[in-house]
Symmetry: C2
Subunit: 112 residues, 2 copies
């Protein structure tokens, strides 16, 4: 599962999680899905399928990527699955990005 990076040292656990989140969000469709989930608070897979005009299996696959990255949470609601944005995940993302590379290019002061 964990591939060796051809670098002098590995990323920390937190850095690895952050990079995985960034990778998941780097896909425009998943990026847009997150926005849709935020707008609607929560929704079921079928809503997103209707929203995207993608095949149901494709949407389910994208949701799996977002879920495994810890960006969304899914709960079974009867025959459907109800997805919502993971508050913990989004907080982690914003916190980590906010303090990322602090010695360089501070976003408030511009000093770095």
């Amino acid at each position: 599962m964990t591939k060796d990076l051809p670098l002098l040292h590995e990323l920390s656990r937190e850095e690895t999680r952050l990079a995985a989140m960034l990778k998941a969000l780097g896909n425009p469709i998943r990026f847009r899905m997150m926005q849709y989930l935020a707008e609607n608070q929560m929704c079921i897979t079928g809503d997103i399928v209707a929203f995207t005009s993608l095949a149901q299996s494709t949407v389910s696959q994208h949701l799996k990527v977002l879920r495994e990255a810890g960006l969304i949470e899914g709960e079974i609601e009867g025959p459907a699955t109800c997805y919502c944005i993971s508050s913990e995940g989004l907080t982690f993302l914003k916190t980590q990005i906010g303090k990322w590379l602090p010695d360089c290019c501070n976003p408030v002061t511009g000093i770095g």
Copy 2:
């Protein structure tokens, strides 16, 4: 160049740029390269090649991705190229992520 998203509406210009940055940073090697550039303020391609144990052409390709995402800047210094983190780019990234999905899961208060 611009692919149509199979979604009800496209991403804005800023959202598209943000997604491209996230995609570039989603690769662990490029993520690590950014850290290395931040640690060393700036460095030439050869430094990163020695740092990573990747082929020179591969490193050059990754640097191109980071540069096209607006995350780093390269300046020709004699026969070499001197790279540094783009202050504007990193500021954009942090600012955009900071205010992304504001109606959901505020990182400070947790209300949303």
